[in-house]
Symmetry: C2
Subunit: 332 residues, 2 copies
Amino acid sequence: MNPIRVVQVGLGPIGQACVRVLSKKPGIELAGGVDIDPRKAGQDIGQVCGLDQDLGVAVRADLPGALSDWRPQVVVHTTLSFLDRVQHQLIDIIQAGACVVSSTEELFYPFQRDPAFCQRIDSLARQHGVALVGTGVNPGFAMDVLPLCLTSVCVRVEKITVTRIVDASKRRLPLQRKIGAGMSRTEFEERVTKGQFGHIGLRESAYAVMNALGWPVDEIEENIWPVLAETRVQTRFLTVEPEQVAGLHQVLLASSDGRERLALELRMAVGAQEDYDSVEIVGDPPLSVRINGGIFGDTATIGVLVNAVPRIIDAQPGLRTMVELPLPHASL
Amino acid sequence: MNPIRVVQVGLGPIGQACVRVLSKKPGIELAGGVDIDPRKAGQDIGQVCGLDQDLGVAVRADLPGALSDWRPQVVVHTTLSFLDRVQHQLIDIIQAGACVVSSTEELFYPFQRDPAFCQRIDSLARQHGVALVGTGVNPGFAMDVLPLCLTSVCVRVEKITVTRIVDASKRRLPLQRKIGAGMSRTEFEERVTKGQFGHIGLRESAYAVMNALGWPVDEIEENIWPVLAETRVQTRFLTVEPEQVAGLHQVLLASSDGRERLALELRMAVGAQEDYDSVEIVGDPPLSVRINGGIFGDTATIGVLVNAVPRIIDAQPGLRTMVELPLPHASL
């Protein structure tokens, strides 16, 4: 079998980690990398991504030109979280005839948030015979794909509760920043009020799960609270004083026909707490699943993205979801 | 959407439970049931299956005739464990133009055990434009689909260990019999030596997992030991005296290129033990997953079978596996 020709678009920490994995993976030919950062463009991609050797390909900043030169079959896309910010990138990639595996959180289940976007992108992708999918660990696995897979043994499902507790001390700096570590309580609350703060994707996970299970959503309530440090917390990257924000506590509740069906709870903070993921299904049979130590997101995100590459090539052209694609698994 | 027309073939405890669920499920039209037992044929299927009302359809014993009258789109097939015993039934069903969801353990991943069977059945199914799949909870979920789904977050997988501990006291009588509860140690060991004793499906799970992960199997070792009762155990159905067999302990180890990659351990016995399922993945990231209280097999098997019904209709014609089909989940 010919290797799959891949280009990495977006060379932040996640994109760099993808390159490190993709460049060593049998069955993958890494053709190049794209990033808008002028300090990266022109440098060897191996150097930009912290590999121990050059790969002989310079990072480029011009997406359409790079794609037209490199002609990838699949683009691994790790740039931004929001549909309106990535739309032009996705259009460039589709028009270059490449499939897309994207970490854009809002792309995991975009149908509720922006139906017009979905129709536009789906129709363009079909026209060019390529498929695209949004995925990752959250959204993409912990709060949607995994609980859905678990319900496959159930004759009846009453309610699903997913809890994800993350000790963000072990995670990369952008994540520690994203959860507000080191902010004052006031600053945190102002950011929440302004919007576009907090973890992106609970809503996408909720709609994907409710839709797959056939529960029409009649209400979704989402709240974010700060987790305050009780003692001084020192991470590799920053320090949080007592009473400053150590992280966030975010809860989504979704109901259907007046009954609460889904609760997604995320608590990500720096400092001492035991990492875990859990899924509790009230149903027949009931299920009580716990991932001790949690799913380590920094690596797991890379795993999900890279493992989706062979999957998206075989998918029907158009805008796909992880729920429609065959059972996801590692491919070594 | 029109309801899916389903016929249940095999009305043992599992088939009866399927009928109880299928007959009440929106989106399903239960057209009838088939069983070779002359005491069941001619009776109303609702009565045979312990429903509180008649369904107005008599159970039939003649498979081809019943299918030709009822014209199902999908057959839920729950008769026997072995390929050679179900082959003629599958052929009848395929020739009647119905898709098949089967609990036949050897059908979950039949490619290794009987390639000639697979070719015959696959080609016949394509010819008739129908798909078939073998599934269940074990094989079908606990030791294959679930661990594979978990690996989708892994950049690297070194080894997978799956453990399933079942307190068989809570399970149906055929299962208690199947695991040897109440036998003497000698009888148990004689049965093991003769073959076709013990849980069927570890091998199928192993080949499915190894194949999906791209590990060529170079050795599979499978052992069965009796679990002896320490004290008298009384279940709803039978009594086990001290030193008699309470159940079985079955372990499969699979290696690839000289490295042990997969361990499947099943311990099913009547009497006091804590039910659980666990999956341990050595890899990056590592994962340690535990289902407290286990997956209750009697109900979960029904869940998996019934939830596969809408899935198999949309599948490509031919002999399929749960790994190729879209992410399994409940459909309510």
